[in-house]
Point group: C3
Amino acid sequence: MILNVLSIVGSVAFAASGAIVAMDEDYDIFGILVLGFITAFAGGMMRNLIVGIPVAAVWHQTGAFIAVLAALGITLVVPGRLLKWGWKLMVYFDALGLSTFAVEGALYAERIHVSAGTVMVAAAMTGAGGGVIRDLLAQRKPLILRSDTYAIWALLAGAVIGLRWVSPHVAWQVYVVLAGTFVLRVLSIVFHWHLPHVESPNRDKAQAVDK
Amino acid sequence: MILNVLSIVGSVAFAASGAIVAMDEDYDIFGILVLGFITAFAGGMMRNLIVGIPVAAVWHQTGAFIAVLAALGITLVVPGRLLKWGWKLMVYFDALGLSTFAVEGALYAERIHVSAGTVMVAAAMTGAGGGVIRDLLAQRKPLILRSDTYAIWALLAGAVIGLRWVSPHVAWQVYVVLAGTFVLRVLSIVFHWHLPHVESPNRDKAQAVDK
Amino acid sequence: MILNVLSIVGSVAFAASGAIVAMDEDYDIFGILVLGFITAFAGGMMRNLIVGIPVAAVWHQTGAFIAVLAALGITLVVPGRLLKWGWKLMVYFDALGLSTFAVEGALYAERIHVSAGTVMVAAAMTGAGGGVIRDLLAQRKPLILRSDTYAIWALLAGAVIGLRWVSPHVAWQVYVVLAGTFVLRVLSIVFHWHLPHVESPNRDKAQAVDK
């Protein structure tokens, strides 16, 4: 029940991030709606596809659909100046979305008895997959592949659930994972945590080929 | 029956648009064939995936496959100078493709008793999805997200069928929807209709992050 | 059995190509891992999706998963200077991956009695699909669509198996197809074979629209 509410909050935060990327790219209002919906729901679809749940199951989230539609409507009619004030809060909503989606994705996968590795991928897919599709549709290099610890926390939540370090059937333990993921995500923003990069063995050659 | 013929005409028009984008990007003849086939069939595949029909059902369209293969063969051997004359007609074939695919997608979705919202998405996916994949494979920002009313008419056709304003089982009503979609698409080209854009609350910041 | 071993070798070669592209794009270590895994496994997933095999079947390749994880781990810790020496061998491993994946994809498709055309697409998808997704996630124009004969040999292997010119149940005939694909791929690298390009009937106009 709480998970349902959080999932709707997360969908709305993800939809808002998609809408803002679309506005940044000067897409029209159709593009804004599409990127909003896709950022909110594509992660769950990809998880379903890869874990082996029917993709069409995504249509059962009626509550989230209505909330996303309402949020995108507000984004389109409220002047950008006012939305600016909401932007600072957005990263927290987005962190809430990430942690809720990751936990939700892990529980989905765990329920059909897949391996711990699959649970981790399902958590990362659900939490971060929508953002990757959003970036591709905006012709950007996916942010999470470049410089962010975003998906790491989703993988971690998946590991904790997939390896049964907590029981997926005990509500408070699930909420502890969710809260931990949220806190780690917020900390990683506050302290600008980044993952290391690696020098390519092949940089010059590859760029020459690319020209 | 008429729907089948129109669907083949639409597939060919979509394949031609894919082939032309591939030529514009200086892809080789394999790339031209791939973009042609993908533009013609990826929309239907994505619709199947999202609506819950087996994706492999796309292989049953033998007629459309042969027509697309023949059309792409012609595109490759006929000199570009001659094809140029066909280009002006192409937008009308493409509009025919959009309206046929949208109606077809809506009927597919309606047949398995999904909600009106799903029927709309299925119509838009079938009509416009192939073009989005085409643009991504050509590393372009998807045209329909930026400046075109393209997908709107597919959504509208989906709404009319999904909400049962017409009966999907009465042929002439289906053809009225198809013709209406076609006319609206052609009007939107002739009169340069565009959807509004929205100023981003976040433009400077987002571009700074992107650098 | 030999096919299993070759398939693991191919997965590792594909994963390495994904990791190197990620390094070239200055992605962080998460991006390197993601591109490595996706290049190795996305082709097979797309083949499953399109041929009608459950996508989740990809999770059964435990051996390949462990090998890819190990290879990516080595790529991350061994200094780029040393990896440079392996790079020249990489094209041969990659050619091995292409031919093994193509044959494997064709056999998968053939087993469920689809048409020869579907077998060809399955072979090309399995052999070249991962590379396309890799290029999209790195925001590059897919190499195989531009200037390489890469996927042609996979299509050819698919045709030979799909049209039953060899029996998919006689091991030595399958290995002949595999070896032939490998040799053709290596020859096409050594002699810089390219497919022809076609002048667009529409180049100036399309570029103007794109601006």
